[in-house]
Symmetry: C2
């Protein structure tokens, strides 16, 4: 009898509820501040860019939030996603560790981003939104929201970070096939973009800038357009918990329980999505699963950043959030994991990390691509550069388990495939990939870049 390697749930097992960590987190939520007044925002301010159901979710303290049937029906196009035991990778590493991964790349858009995209499109739709603006880094979020908006018959404008826009034209073509309009950011469409281009015509863009542009368009649309964000905010993390909820059931099918759960972190949504349900079990049942966030050494928000109040965007028009940050004007070095080039980390995740409930490490681009290649050669799947940070960390855990001679159960989130990242693989294969310059100069001086706020006392 051969070992089972794929743990599949049925359509009926698509989760019926999102899990809201706010209900169980031992850390109090931190307030969202207005970018000008630097006082806690009013619902009115948020209403200019978000629909009411999203604002309610953002503030909710309910432990479980029902997933609308219309959203579940679309999830069923690809969910439940498989949980796979990486037997061939284990064998290549000759490790006693058991390595499992949750594979979100089976989503039609190619990543976990579809989970929140479909939910956000739905909540916008029922709130009467006709048109949405957003940003995208590597293109995964833009692709997911393009698909989702198309499903609900809404228009979408995507501001795509310039470096990815040119590195990954195929991503743009996918978004256009789903019916979206895509602009290279910084663009001429916004005051933000025009100002940046005037100062620096060769600016390669960043998620911070692209967010500013998308927010500006929505904020100045007189209610005609709403804005949608693919990570960082509470409601996005909330939507992604379907990953961890399914994984809990599937680990049970495998008769194992993870010693460590791993995910890559840009804004923090895919990591939180797989980790928060396991964190709940840690808090509730005294489980001791380690939750390991992995970021690139070039954008080390958790491992080298400051925990403080900072703008969510570069142009200082998005709300101020308390988070681990490298400074809103941090220009991340160009690396191929474009989805991880964000200056901050989700406030909920930042607070939990600050409280010691989450671990974090930073990894270099070369060691990450080495892991990606080994994974492709053993498991067949070509992983996204972002997700490959989690693979590298899982491999490191498995190697350590071997050294210690212990059976360690490792679970990581393979958040997406790398079919649109082949120029990066080619650079690695031909020896041209580097670890890029480490931004010491920017990191030594973060504090001076943060806004001065009077930290308000929560009620």
């Amino acid at each position: 009898m051969s070992t089972t390697t794929r743990f599949m749930l049925s359509e009926n097992d698509v989760p019926k509820h999102f899990y809201n960590i706010a209900a169980d987190s031992p850390v109090k939520p931190t307030p969202v501040l207005h970018p000008q007044s630097k006082e806690p925002v009013t619902p009115d301010f948020l209403s200019a860019i978000f629909p009411t159901p999203i604002i309610e979710q953002e503030m909710s303290m309910d432990r479980f939030i029902e997933i609308p049937e219309e959203v579940r029906e679309i999830y069923k196009l690809w969910r439940p996603t498989p949980l796979i035991r990486a037997m061939r990778l284990e064998k290549a590493l000759n490790t006693p560790a058991h390595i499992y991964f949750k594979y979100e790349g089976v989503s039609p858009s190619g990543s976990h981003k579809s989970n929140s995209a479909v939910a956000q499109a739905y909540y916008n739709k029922i709130a009467g939104t006709k048109s949405i603006t957003t940003e995208t880094g590597a293109g995964q979020w833009g692709t997911a929201l393009s698909m989702a908006c198309n499903f609900f018959g809404m228009e979408l404008e995507v501001y795509m970070v310039k470096v990815s826009y040119h590195q990954k034209p195929a991503r743009r073509y996918v978004m256009e096939t789903y019916g979206a309009t895509v602009f290279s950011s910084p663009s001429d469409n916004t005051q933000t973009g025009r100002t940046i281009i005037a100062k620096d015509p060769d600016n390669q863009g960043s998620l911070g800038i692209a967010i500013s542009e998308a927010v500006e368009i929505a904020a100045l649309s007189g209610g005609q357009k709403k804005y949608s964000l693919g990570s960082v905010l509470n409601h996005v993390l909330l939507h992604q918990t379907v990953i961890g909820e399914e994984a809990l059931k599937q680990m049970d099918m495998a008769n194992e329980y993870p010693d460590v759960v791993i995910g890559c972190v840009g804004g923090g949504s895919n990591f939180s999505g797989i980790a928060f349900p396991f964190l709940r079990e840690n808090l509730k049942n005294g489980q001791r699963t380690r939750l390991l966030a992995v970021e690139p050494t070039t954008t080390p928000s958790l491992t080298r950043g400051i925990y403080g109040y900072d703008y969510g965007d570069t142009a200082q028009i998005a709300p101020i959030l308390k988070m681990f940050t490298l400074g809103h004007d941090f220009m991340p070095p160009v690396i191929h994991a474009g989805g991880l080039r964000y200056h901050g980390v989700a406030p909920q995740l930042s607070a939990l990390y600050d409280a010691g409930l989450i671990e974090a490490i930073a990894l270099g681009q070369l060691e990450v691509f080495q892991a990606a290649t080994l994974f492709a050669q053993t498991e067949g799947i070509l992983p996204a550069p972002e997700s490959s940070h989690a693979i590298r960390a899982a491999i490191n855990e498995a190697i350590e388990a071997k050294k210690l001679g212990e059976k360690r159960v490792i679970l990581f989130n393979l958040s997406g495939h790398g079919h649109f990242d082949l120029t990066a693989y080619n650079a690695y294969n031909s020896g041209e990939l580097t670890n890029n310059e480490y931004p010491e100069h920017a990191i030594s001086d973060i504090e001076s870049h943060l806004p001065k706020v009077n930290i308000p006392v929560m009620g």
Copy 2:
């Protein structure tokens, strides 16, 4: 209660046997002829390029051939593949038809090609092969065999049709990540390639030429290298029947039985893979499922070709096969469905088509991309241009069912995803895609291009 749309089998349902149509076909097998003597080939001739287990399968009349456990273990990385009911497409077409598709794009290499690639790599491995040569058109076969050879620790040289080599660099990078070496064909490595380049330096290549190159390298290697083909031959069709075997079980789960089964045809392997098990049921149980092969109007081998003996390759070094053909020196117009640019059709499939057991139609590139876009916008999945021929035909069937007011159960094979075909989508989205020139001149005069053979009488 919502309708079930995804029919999933478990790992245990990965087929244990390949189905060999030769055992049930009412049409006698036609002999394979030597390219020089034009007499039936000896096993010795085939042994120069194929390993013994493959030759045995090629000639076998056994109905079921056991799938080795090592092959099944690798299949389990992605098999059983899902059968999905395209509810959202049905709704968009407002049709009473039920449209199902078998999705082979979940294979790590992105298409059905992995099914035969893994089997062929395995049989080569047990026969002691160290190194393999092959050709690839759009890159799907080359990708699949690269993955498979890597799994079994064998070297691979891929001759990739020049037009695809340049249109789809990402495909090459994937193959290289799996450890293969890729050459643009026609190349300088072979007499075949050098001769063609000397005559026509801008030759864009064809599958026929790429096959010649890969066969030449193997044939002249003194037994050091074997050759592997991704379609056309009996053993390749045999391996692909896992698709139809699973689909039979899954249609049963859906409590339906298809009125029509549809697949695109280049060499014929993905169509045969889904259709042959249903043909068996037609022959055995008197089912009346129509089996519909779909080819591009630019390479209309079945609908406009001749049923006769022709070389499998352009340089006349591969065996002569009896098949529907446009002539071995036919230069297919450049279209984006590169995997369908082959001059002939598998002998087994050709014979069944000639006997009236299979139907065929040809479709133009524009109507195919229109269907691909509608499919992406309704079902989310971005299909390969090749597979989109099957989608278009399925849509046409659904529209006809609506006109006739009948419930028709349609099953098509979605043989692969289109993640590496985005330049084609961009051309379509920007209105630059055309149907290409129809090769009337080449089609009016096929017979004069075929070799003169004395058709031997079979024992």
